[in-house]
């Protein structure tokens, strides 16, 4: 129990973007129940709101995804330097490069509009970084990789949530295109965690 609590970092990394493509490569799914849609949304009668007209869910996604992305790169850089296990080091380097790519695209999407992306880490991630900073050796490796598992679990749920709740097709498309890589990272993190701790893969 303690172990799982120890590493239940709250975090929402924007995982990935191995797929680099145009902003609307995937056809956004049709908008469902217009929950959260403001009555004055332009294009509402065609059920395809104009671009750059995010709903509340979109704004929330933009914030959480950006926070996670920032935290992911920060933690990855730290782990690339501090990790003892070479496999963890490789994973951390991959997180930094994948997420740096993804973050660039996300930042471009979020520019302007009403999406005010925070410029510093939230409290949870600050504490996470603080904790990681105090650990060394195997303790650091285990804490980092357990945190990565939890972060990617949360990210997967966040991305799945926006796919059917968002309104701005730039964001839902981004989520759809990025989700397979989030799943891949989660699979890698679970495998590393199993290797390191003997947990069930």
């Amino acid at each position: 129990m303690k172990h799982s609590k120890l590493t239940s970092f709250r975090g929402l990394p924007v995982s990935v973007l191995l797929i680099v493509g145009p902003a609307l490569a995937a056809d956004p799914p049709p908008i469902g129940n217009p929950a959260g849609m403001a009555p004055d949304t332009p294009g509402v009668y065609e059920a395809h709101p104009q671009l750059q007209h995010p709903n509340t869910a979109d704004l929330l996604f933009a914030r959480e995804a950006a926070l996670g992305a920032m935290a992911e790169v920060n933690a990855g850089k730290l782990a690339a330097r501090k990790a003892q296990n070479p496999a963890i080091k490789d994973f951390a380097n991959r997180m930094v490069s994948d997420h740096t790519n993804a973050n660039g695209r996300l930042a471009a999407l979020e520019k302007g509009d009403r999406m005010n992306v925070p410029d510093q880490l939230d409290k949870d991630h600050k504490v996470m970084m603080d904790q990681l900073g105090k650990l060394d050796g195997r303790d650091f490796d285990v804490a980092y990789i357990r945190g990565q598992v939890t972060d990617h679990q949360k990210t997967a749920q966040l991305y799945e949530w926006i796919i059917d709740n968002g309104q701005d097709p730039r964001l839902t498309s981004y989520a759809m295109e990025t989700l397979p890589a989030v799943m891949r990272h989660l699979e890698m993190a679970r495998a590393l965690q199993a290797q390191l701790t003997g947990s069930a893969p």
Partner: protein, 463 residues
């Protein structure tokens, strides 16, 4: 070691505080959002979007399946009114055959992205909204008999009529095997059930039937501003989906998964042979049909969201006087007769063809089918199993709003009368029995020859 543990615990106590105070995911990741638009606006919006919605689903179906009319020669469904469709309908990716695919490892198929798209979870026609969608014949007949509207303005049914069960389906009763089909070729409704069934059923069964035919408010069919039919709706009945206690292929989404994009499609299950079934629901594993009848008001009716249910007028059947009677009615629904099966569920060699007998051998042996579909227990094992299809594909891709994710354990369904129940699998992703043979040949790695596959299909048609 001690010191290491100590540092763990120290960390744990600090981080526990952080977890407890962390921002959770938004409520709409679990609960249904309240609508924010007036009904007229939502309706106009949905209607304008409908052509594109249907086109997107047609594109998915055409990419995956050959949906043309290829009947299985000489095989009709149990009512004798509808031919059974035959042949493998799932399309292969370029450069492979079913045999070459069957000889590859799951890892190779996954890394080369060769799993046929038709083997992946089938999306709801409009994933974000979801809810119950009825086929045209059900909509027309209920409209005609009851004047009750089951036609949604935001979506239509997607699969062609030839891949739906016979309508209306025949009804066989365990209490009256001597009568055969007692449906008189009609769809049971609240209007006609009494005259059709008086003298055949007991008073308790009659009351159960009446309740199963009584409309109650449902997520998309109700009197609030959040409904998906033109007028305020009286609701739906249990037998609107399980028409004549069989299935009409109406579909929904699993109530057991969130967020919405992860909820897989559910094809209505037949209620035939319910008396032999020990667990109920593809994922829910409810332990009695009484439990299930009671709980469907939380699930099929309201997506597993009791908060939304309360607002829209949920009707919870009374446990001691209503669900028991509903269960008594459901428990006398028999499988259609299978004259080639003996009392232990095995083929009678005097009646079965050589091909059917060969198929039975495959079923029991090389095909591994009987390991779960046990003949002596109505071709079920009262278990849920995980086929681990994700060995063959990378999870996370989105198809028409549904994220392709592992299904996890799913209940073993009966195979008695299986030719009457297309489409196949819990979500209806497989149009024909030949598709199911190819699917399980791949998933179980059984490497059947074409002749063995054909024999197996022939056997399944005899069950």
């Amino acid at each position: 070691m001690r010191a290491q543990r100590f540092s763990w615990l120290l960390g744990a106590s600090v981080l526990f505080y952080v977890v407890a105070s962390a921002d959770p995911l938004p409520p709409s990741a679990t609960y249904r959002n309240l609508p924010s638009l007036p009904f007229d606006t939502a309706k106009a919006n949905d209607e304008a979007a409908k052509p594109k919605v249907m086109q997107q689903q047609r594109d998915v179906l055409n990419e995956r399946y050959d949906l043309a009319d290829h009947q299985q020669p000489g095989v009709m469904m149990s009512g004798g009114r509808k031919p059974v469709q035959g042949g493998v309908r799932v399309k292969l990716p370029g450069g492979v055959t079913w045999d070459s695919l069957g000889s590859m490892s799951p890892e190779e198929i996954r890394s080369r992205k060769l799993l046929p798209a038709g083997f992946l979870p089938l999306p709801h026609v409009k994933q974000a909204t979801g809810g119950q969608v009825f086929p045209e014949n059900e909509i027309k007949e209920i409209g005609f008999q009851e004047g009750r509207d089951l036609r949604r303005f935001d979506v239509d049914f997607d699969l062609p009529e030839r891949f739906q069960p016979e309508f209306p389906a025949p009804i066989f009763l365990t209490t009256h095997p001597e009568l055969g089909d007692v449906s008189q070729g009609q769809l049971l409704t609240i209007r006609n059930y009494y005259s059709l069934m008086v003298g055949i059923l007991t008073p308790v069964q009659m009351e159960g039937l009446r309740l199963l035919l009584t409309p109650f408010p449902q997520e998309e069919f109700n009197q609030t501003e959040d409904h998906k039919v033109g007028e305020q709706s009286l609701g739906v009945t249990c037998l609107d989906c399980h028409s004549n206690f069989h299935t009409n292929a109406a579909f929904h989404q699993t109530p057991d998964v969130r967020p919405q994009a992860a909820r897989f499609r559910l094809d209505t299950v037949s209620l035939r042979g319910l008396f032999d079934q020990q667990i109920h629901g593809s994922k829910r594993s409810l332990r009695s049909v009484e439990d299930f009848s009671e709980f469907e008001q939380r699930t099929a009716y309201f997506n597993g969201d009791q908060v939304s249910a309360q607002r829209k007028g949920v009707h919870l059947p009374e446990r001691h006087d209503q669900t028991v009677m509903m269960a008594q009615m459901q428990n006398i629904i028999d499988f259609p007769p299978a004259p080639k099966l003996d009392p232990t569920g095995h083929l009678d060699p005097r009646k079965a063809s050589q091909q059917e007998l060969a198929g039975e051998q495959i079923f029991m042996g090389k095909g591994k089918c009987a390991q779960c579909h046990v003949p002596q227990t109505a071709f079920m094992d009262m278990q849920m199993h995980d086929l681990k299809l994700e060995r063959f594909y990378e999870p996370g891709q989105t198809v028409n709003g549904l994220v392709m994710l592992p299904d996890g354990p799913i209940k073993t369904f009966t195979l008695r009368g299986i030719k009457d129940s297309p489409p196949y699998l819990h979500d209806g992703r497989l149009p024909t029995l030949a598709d199911t043979v190819e699917f399980f040949n791949l998933v179980l790695g059984t490497r059947l020859t074409q002749q063995e596959k054909d024999s197996l299909v022939s056997y399944l048609l005899a069950l």
